[in-house]
Symmetry: C2
Subunit: 326 residues, 2 copies
């Protein structure tokens, strides 16, 4: 596959069409469609939309056969974001007020719900639609399972999970990876490869990519500029991240227990000095270097996976914001 | 169709199997499945589960072909109930604490979400799965549209809808009718009738049945025993119902404006005397008799619809709790 289409090339080929199909789903003027349209207009990279056509094209298929899958997966992804903002009380999404802040929690639940059904309706229209709906549905149950586990990893959670590195990896693989996996799998289905073995390989590749995406996001919060006020916002918010879970598991007890106190302190009570101290603990314990190592290792090994050549350069692109530290 | 299967007969034939299939979906021991299992164990009549097999059998098909549809539709229905309880702040569901009260709002959103994807995964496994997923998805978007409108009918709503009888009927047809429609349509699909015209007729029959169900429920709150403390609970809760919307539209201005004050008074401030006064207004304005007339009329006319004979006795059964007033 020497002449594999790049992300830029597939975007040039199907990006506009995907945008038009997405807009068409929510083009009506009832309140439900206007709310959904507001959310979609906040933007996003539309990465879930483009993966299936991209994979399909690089397997020799017609990317047009995967457009319905791309549209469906992008809609489902946006449904999870709308519900996520409600669940976390996050007030902003891509620089705009989160949907629940404009129309309330009840309506935001409705819009997320509708995104799911619009999404699966689209998926059902693709080639081998019933097979694709089954695969996507199982993957999204994985996403939701990851979301359930994320709440179990919080300090005050009922039925709390121990915040080990393994628990973090399982949660992130489910929450972020499962839907990427469905995107790759749908591209494979659109190209006519429908054996169980092919779908498992596609799902695993997408899950690995999703996991890299999540670890990169955690790493960026510590070492780069995420467009937030300062480094360490996740520490302030009490989020368990890859570096924090690594530290809990591998650092000397005094360092890891001090970090745990900082992470578990409620957001409003976490001072900037505490965040700075947490960053020092992560540096001194080796957690930051271990995270960089893990990312380098994934970057070098993902290329060996089946179907990796159908998404040329995707890992480098995901890692671009933190490339200066790798 | 002289020997059409009754509801009792189809339940005897497939009820146990449906229960077993439903339980199997949530039989795992992770928190997501345990929460979902808790909700399903609260019971319910499983009416959405049995309609598709019932219709299929009475069209000469094998009800076993419609089991996946029945399971999927019952799961989706229960997902809407879980989210509905969150949205309304309802603390009880079938006599047990609502899921959000036991595990919190965020986890309840997760469980409802998962019900949707388990549900459509099941639907995709039925005959003509992709067609069925498309039909069901569109119908559930209708359900959600009705839910959006219900919030727009509330006194303090943003983008409020005028509480006319037409607005109420449109809302109830969408919110309650659309999913019943999908149940009938899936039974028709399972029996091999897949032309657009057949699906439209099936959807319309289900929507009419759902509407009767909702008007009956409103009527029962005024004239019967719903297992709540007293008649008129909906008036206390400020719910727009068929009789209330009828009164707004048809009663003398002094009566209808007095009723509106009672309905719009916040629940905590609505006294029993106000509820009693509201009941008198509904009686004196003719709203209660008009509702009874409407129900009698629907009972007599629904039987003329295509596919009505595939659900023998369903309207009488729905009207049984209020039969003494018809």
């Amino acid at each position: 596959m020497t002449s594999a289409l790049t992300l830029g090339a597939i975007r040039a080929s199907v990006g506009l069409k995907l945008d038009r199909l997405l807009s068409a789903v929510v083009s009506g003027d009832n309140l439900l469609e206007r709310m959904a349209s507001y959310h979609l207009a906040t933007g996003g990279k539309r990465l879930r939309a483009v993966i299936a056509p991209w994979v399909c094209a690089n397997l020799g298929g017609d990317p047009a056969d995967a457009l319905a899958f791309g549209v469906g997966l992008e809609l489902i992804h946006n449904g999870t974001l709308i519900h996520d903002d409600v669940q976390d009380g996050d007030e902003w999404r891509r620089g705009e007020p989160a949907l629940w802040r404009k129309w309330g929690v009840a309506q935001a639940i409705n819009v997320g719900d509708a995104m799911y059904f619009w999404g699966l309706e689209a998926v059902a229209q693709g080639p081998n639609g019933a097979l694709a709906v089954g695969h996507v549905s199982r993957a999204v149950v994985g996403t939701i399972t990851g979301q359930v586990m994320e709440f179990q990893l919080r300090p005050s959670a009922a039925e709390q999970l121990e915040p080990t590195l393994m628990a973090w990896v399982n949660t992130a693989t489910a929450k972020t990876g499962a839907l990427f996996g469905a995107c790759v799998a749908c591209g494979v289905i659109a190209a006519g490869e429908v054996e169980a073995e092919a779908l498992v390989a596609a799902q695993e590749l997408g899950e690995a990519i999703g996991l890299v995406f999540q670890v990169q996001d955690d790493f960026l919060d510590l070492v780069g500029d995420k467009g937030r006020e300062r480094a360490g916002t996740d520490l302030k918010e009490g989020k368990l991240s890859f570096p924090v879970a690594w530290c809990y598991q591998n650092a000397a007890p005094d360092l890891s227990s001090r970090l745990q106190v900082i992470v578990d302190t409620p957001r409003a009570e976490t001072t900037d000095a505490m965040v700075d101290e947490g960053l020092v603990v992560l540096e001194d314990s080796g957690a930051i270097e271990a995270t960089a190592d893990w990312l380098r290792n994934m970057r070098d090994s993902i290329g060996d996976q089946r179907y990796a050549a159908t998404l040329p350069g995707i890992v480098d692109r995901i890692l671009r914001p933190v490339a200066h530290r790798l």
